[in-house]
Symmetry: none
Subunit: 193 residues, 4 copies
DNA sequence: AATGAATGAGGCTTCATTCAT
DNA sequence: TATGAATGAAGCCTCATTCAT
């Protein structure tokens, strides 16, 4: 509701900051309202309840991201290159917003089953994109035709996710972007024909 | 404290069941006490607070598991074989205790930052074991000497973890054990020299 | 204030409908505004606060009703006949507006002490009318001269009120109007000389 | 639950006092707890929620009262005498507990539809008792055989209720007990054969 | 060692009212 | 006059922990 109003975005952005700085369980609605510079009640003109704020955080940000990835891989020709762009833009995305990185990798995972289920719905779009790259690679003969798409997807996503989580848990001390080529190489080798 | 008393184990086992069946946020101390067949207050004779119960769940169970893996790989000669044994016994471990699988893959991740930090401490022993296999593989020339150990570890752990989580999220419908060879192959290819 | 403007009546009528359909506690100002086809803020150009709307509902409607009763009994000669007309027109009034019946018998009674006190002020006009009939009946020898006017009034009003409330609580299933003669007879007997 | 524990009664009694002194809408759980001399949370060991406290107030008190009436009319022989005892003990009951009188006549009526529905369930026992007296009176020829039991019940209850409410609204200034004979006479005349 | 009744802090949400336009 | 977006106070309930027995 009213997702195009400026305050909607204001509140979502405030939620990212508050969750990142205080943790999921300490992100009270009143803190988010204060950070957004609105009254507590105003939150409920834009979101049905607290859970909806959190869903929106993920949906808005992940939505932006899927667009970025789609654009990034559009320019590429081979599945191998597309895979590289996906890894690199995923890294670049969270590297560019340290608060968001904390939220997606650590805090949002503390949500309850229902919320995580709904987050997975949003994630699906990303995984579908990944699947299409994998299928293309197999068809073109770039990847081994014997690989199980589901397992390959889990390897790719699991590796990327684990790499980013480690980076966040180490306080984003080292340069995540530099890891992209090696992660790409590890993943690719696993699927080479 | 008093970890050798029978009630200690009774409470830890009760916690696994209660968390698996009710979810992390619905696992009240009183429920755990009831499942363990003791009074609420008794819990606090064995655990300083609720967080300690959850830590213990992970420490006790993961401790058992690390032992299992250590024994499993002892018999093997090559790093490649050891890696296979690690994957297979990891799958076998959680395949054999559906409650524990839910708890490690879904519920315990909803805990707060502090708790997850301490869980990672316990995980370290597992990761150290993994690192030693990777190093051995490189030294023996089984794996590519150019791979970054940290990244390789993240790929291996990320892939295994993501595979198990997917299996749990799909209600453990399909046979996890059958996936071990293919997961092994995917991972191995990524590191082959 | 501004009771003669068309929007005033519009809002009062909307309040009756909203309260009847949603219940007293679910009759938010915004719902009344919507039903009346005006903006929330407009309500406050015509009413000081929400309580004033509710008072007005009763005052306007009860005002109409007292006029109706006055006219109805004007034609009658004996106090006995006037009493019958009062009962019959009371029944007829609420029988003709099912929303209003719900509001006066059930919903408005959920208001707080202050509001109920002010409603009683409005009711007084009705009770004064009733008292005058009772006095007239005593003076004319139709009713027992020994009856306590206050108690008699309470019996008459209590009986009528309880009868209507029962009818509303039974979802207005049976014909209220048919009960008038018997209610009249019961009441009258109580006061006969 | 645990209705026989002393704290259950303690809380119910505290609720009567708090509601009478502050009004239904100002009777916060915390006030009731304070008046009862227990912690807020303790309330919830004895009552599922706030509504259950209010139901219990009525059920416990009305339950006591129905017993009193049953005992009072047991000694009487005629329906006429029984009716007098019912009126007199009803008056005597609320005359003896000014807080309870305010609660039953004014405050509890502000509750929402659900609560009032459940209160009516409790009231039913009283009305059944009243019906049995009326039937007995008709069978014995004390009351007119042509009267409609339902209407007669509404007259009796309506008159008693209205009389007590008036007394409470007038701050219990006059002596309610003295009104019993006249109320009895008014009611009785209405039903005499 | 064991019990379990009692404690009390803490947060999401609603909605009457305001006020800039 | 009319609007409607924004405000912010206020309360029910849960549950980890304690402590008298």
């Amino acid at each position: 509701m009213k997702r195009d109003k400026p305050k909607y975005k204001q509140i979502v952005d405030a939620a990212v900051i508050v969750i990142a700085e205080n943790g999921y369980h300490q992100a009270q609605v009143s803190k988010i309202a204060k950070e957004a510079g609105v009254a507590d009640g105003t939150i409920y003109l834009y979101f049905k309840n607290k859970e909806e704020i959190l869903i929106s955080v993920f949906r808005e940000k992940m939505g932006d991201f899927v667009e970025i990835v789609k654009n990034a891989i559009k320019k590429e020709i081979t599945a191998t290159e597309k895979l590289y762009e996906m890894i690199d833009s995923h890294f670049r995305w969270l590297h560019g917003d340290r608060h968001l990185a904390i939220v997606t990798q650590l805090e949002l995972r503390q949500s309850n089953k229902d919320l995580r289920y709904r987050i997975n719905e949003v994630l699906k779009e990303y995984l579908v994109l990944l699947d299409s790259i994998l299928k293309e690679g197999i068809e073109k003969g770039e990847f081994d035709e014997k690989i199980d798409i589901r397992l390959a997807r889990q390897m790719v996503f699991g590796t990327i996710d684990e790499t980013i989580t480690s980076w966040v848990m180490n306080d984003q001390k080292y340069d995540l972007l530099k890891l992209a080529p090696e992660v790409h190489r590890l993943i690719l080798n696993g699927m080479k024909s």
